[in-house]
Amino acid sequence: MKLALGPLLYYWQRDAVFSFYDAVAATPVDIVYLGETVCSRRRELRLADWLSIAARLLEAGKEVVLSTQVLIESGSDVTTLHKIAEMSANGDFMVEANDMGAVHCLEGKVPFVAGPHLNIYNVPTLQWMATLGIQRWVMPLEMGRDDLALMQQGRPAGVQTEVFAYGRMPLAFSARCFTARHCNLPKDDCQFRCIEHPDGLMLRTRESEGFLVLNGIQTQSAKVYNLLPEWGAMRDLGVDVVRVSPQAQHTPEILTLFHSAMTGQTSTDAAMQAMAGLMPDLACNGYWYGKPGLEQLATQPELV
């Protein structure tokens, strides 16, 4: 099984992004997804900057994939999409398509990754998507292991499966920016306030329980999805790639712990103990067991 780092979901200062990926280059991660997937107003990095980061990572022996924006609304969003598709067709890099508009620009021209928000929930849809040239698909966040097992049985030959296995989950997208709303600013004049919150803004219930994280137009889980204890089950199900999602702190350590556990250098229990102090919030794994996503269940043996 390979280890991937998902796209950076937050808005950071340019220098911070470059140093982050310098550190990532030194970890045992195999695949790195790059690019702005959340908001087109975030412009600390231009496409050319992402490409220079890609070059550094390639040099370090990583596979690089460029992810497209999840919510594509404006004409200029579509123009960016066309540019990315064209570069991919030239063989510059592979693309993770995060909406069907991106799929339309890539299909039949070049292999691509079907991202986690394309809503591939069943075998007939996976098989149909495979005819368009997907090399890999990322399981929807909501999908549990029992459904994944069925998907794997019906998976077409040559298509890899990736699972979002660590991080705060990107649960929802909106036209509205909740960070700007919090600051009483209109989105068109947001003053890029999300750059002040490198791990997003915590939304709490009126009992002060951490519930969701506001990240611009994206809403995330406060709890951290952590499927490290399930890595053996994922391997047995034929999962090809395990995805870790970036945070401002400790991402290289998390990647290293996943790698150590998955290669048997560290026991899973020891890796989980080491992670306890590195996670930004409590762990959850409910989705994996077909339960509410925020629940944390004891690891259970696989169903036969």
């Binding site: 594509i72 969003d77 579509v78 809503n119 929930y121 069943n122 149909w128 509205r176 219930t205």
Partner: protein
Amino acid sequence: MELVCPAGSLPALKAAVDHGADCVYLGFRDATNARNFAGLNFDEAAIATGIRYAHDRGRKVLLALNTYPQASSPEVWRKAIDRAAQNGVDAVILADPGLMAYALKHYPELRLHLSVQGSATNYEAINFYHRHFGIARAVLPRVLSLTQVEQVLDKTPVEIEVFGFGSLCVMVEGRCALSSYVTGEAPNTNGVCSPPKAVRWVETPQGRESRLNGVLIDRYADGENAGYPTLCKGRFDVGEDKNYYAIEEPTSLNTLELLPKLMKMGVKAIKIEGRQRSPAYVAQVTKVWREAIDNCRDNPHRYSAKPAWMSGLDKVAEGQQHTLGAYHRPWK
């Protein structure tokens, strides 16, 4: 411009038809549609009666099969397509590509609409479904501004349907798993959001609390109107800001005043939300919108949303208030 109205039951369907709906949309009584609520929707007999009632009066019936077939039971959704075709519905409203491929293969004559749950927010996405499945119409998610709607219309041969009135999803439809994060069930997978079985009302010394699977969604002081705990419409704390609608107020979308612009742009149909609402709601909203559309078509330059229409709609609106939502840029 067609007026597309909701029906969660046979009486609601009749109310829609009697008050001037051009099309009525409905769903089967199971998880194949995005309003999978107890006591709602149509069994075999009701759907046949409903279709006859509508067709006798020259109206159309659209069937929503707009959840995503789940890995363990794709055949349930396929059988729903079979039943829809056999019942003679005028179109099916779908979100899942695999299901569209099935419909096209087995019922090439069946008219396909792309559901709002398909999350197609740009012309490339809409044209994707058109190219592969020949979809005749797409329902736009409630995230685009008027200018963006126009940009889509310019670049696609597909008919465009937009939401005109009803409860407002602040998230992109088809891209929201908040409900399953809290309750295990969500629109994509189960056709529900913040399902009633997960709701608990608790009287406490601090006030009346609404909880969703234990998570505190809102707390109401004495005399405050308590709304249904849809989880994105609760009051929360963010930083120093306490107790505010951090995501969205309980409010309804109402685009009556935009009608001339939408008509001029070439929007083909206006959708009214609310299959979970009563026949009285359907009657009231259909009546107002019928009058407005006719008025706007006959006198587009002199059209304005009449105060009586607005107050008639506010009476049945969520939170008794309305918004232009994403059509109006500052909302974002």
